[in-house]
Symmetry: C2
Subunit: 206 residues, 2 copies
């Protein structure tokens, strides 16, 4: 298994070694600050200082705070996908496996609630200028869910169900992060939405 991640961006100009190192330092600083105090604690000047880079350079690498945090999320997601791949969920049905996978991810986020806050808020606050990056996150999430379902060729109906699951996932996270829903409630909602999977299984076609 080669080191190259499965789906990197078009990679317009290949980065030199030092540039790659800068990029890593920036993402690391971003995640570190986010872990401390969430979205507000990621201040561009501080990120620049922590990663030993001038402010202008930071903006050359990531054209806005939201871009930076979405990239941070891409980074974390790749991690998580790798982790999940090693220990696939054990449930008997696709719905169970997806729910189990999402709850596992949820528990990981609970360990770093501030980081989760920063990433999710950035993701939902992103405007059109960040669409490509947000889309990439969405594709990665879809891949994780489809992995859990064990599907190669999902039907359009199933894809819609997966989109709805992702919608619920993001929005439920937000309600939890802003203290309006308990962990138990998020769990219930995830389990509820996962029932859609059974409903859209090919043999259950209406």
């Amino acid at each position: 298994m080669p080191a190259e991640p499965s789906s990197a961006l078009p990679a317009s100009p290949p980065l030199t070694e030092r540039q790659e190192a800068r990029r890593r330092r920036i993402l690391h600083a971003s995640a570190q600050l986010a872990s401390r105090g969430g979205f507000d604690a990621v201040q561009m000047r501080e990120v620049a200082e922590s990663s030993q880079v001038a402010l202008g350079t930071l903006y050359r690498y990531f054209p806005s705070k939201v871009h930076l945090l979405v990239a941070t999320m891409q980074d974390q997601l790749e991690h998580m996908h790798g982790t999940l791949r090693k220990k696939p969920p054990q449930g008997a049905t696709a719905a169970e496996r997806v729910a189990e996978t999402l709850m596992r991810a949820f528990r990981a986020l609970q360990r770093e609630p501030h980081l989760a806050d920063a990433m999710v808020r950035a993701l939902t606050f992103a405007d059109r200028s960040v669409s490509p990056e947000v889309d990439q996150v969405s594709r990665q999430t879809t891949a994780i869910v489809l992995d859990a379902m064990g599907l190669e060729n999902p039907t359009p109906e199933q894809l819609s169900a997966v989109r709805v699951i992702e919608h619920t996932w993001h929005s439920a996270l937000i309600t939890w992060l802003s203290g309006r829903a308990s962990i138990a409630q998020v769990k219930i909602d995830i389990e509820t939405v996962c029932r859609l999977i059974d409903l859209t299984a090919p043999e259950a076609d209406s």
Copy 2:
């Protein structure tokens, strides 16, 4: 039928007439600016000027831009709930009626996409300090959906389904507003998630 809306906030100190007028002017200015250019176009200094109120006063009425926009959303939601009540959806099943209601709301939002942008972005960007107000919006939305279902005493399962529908509603709106999903896709996702209602109907209990 009295003028008092069904569920106002605790209403700590009752406002004088002039204060009520100020509050209305502010909300009106906010909605107007939002209709022009969305979230970014609602600039606190401009809102203050448009509503003939000092900046400090604006902040006394609404402690942050997000508070202001969430309050604007409450206002619009009350409007919409009233409109919907007059022409209840005609679908045969609860799922159809909910989907119809949400699509009607969606079409209303499409007429003012910038306003929708401002309100939805504020809603999902809100942090804990805005929780009470966001919760109020959520309750209002829940009321609209339950109205469409025609339910008096929903089961916990059904409430979870309604929450999932709201999650999908908000998140699907965001993907549409940020240009990552088409109107058709939003429609499909809404219809998909509404199928959950049938799944949680009391007689279909697992």
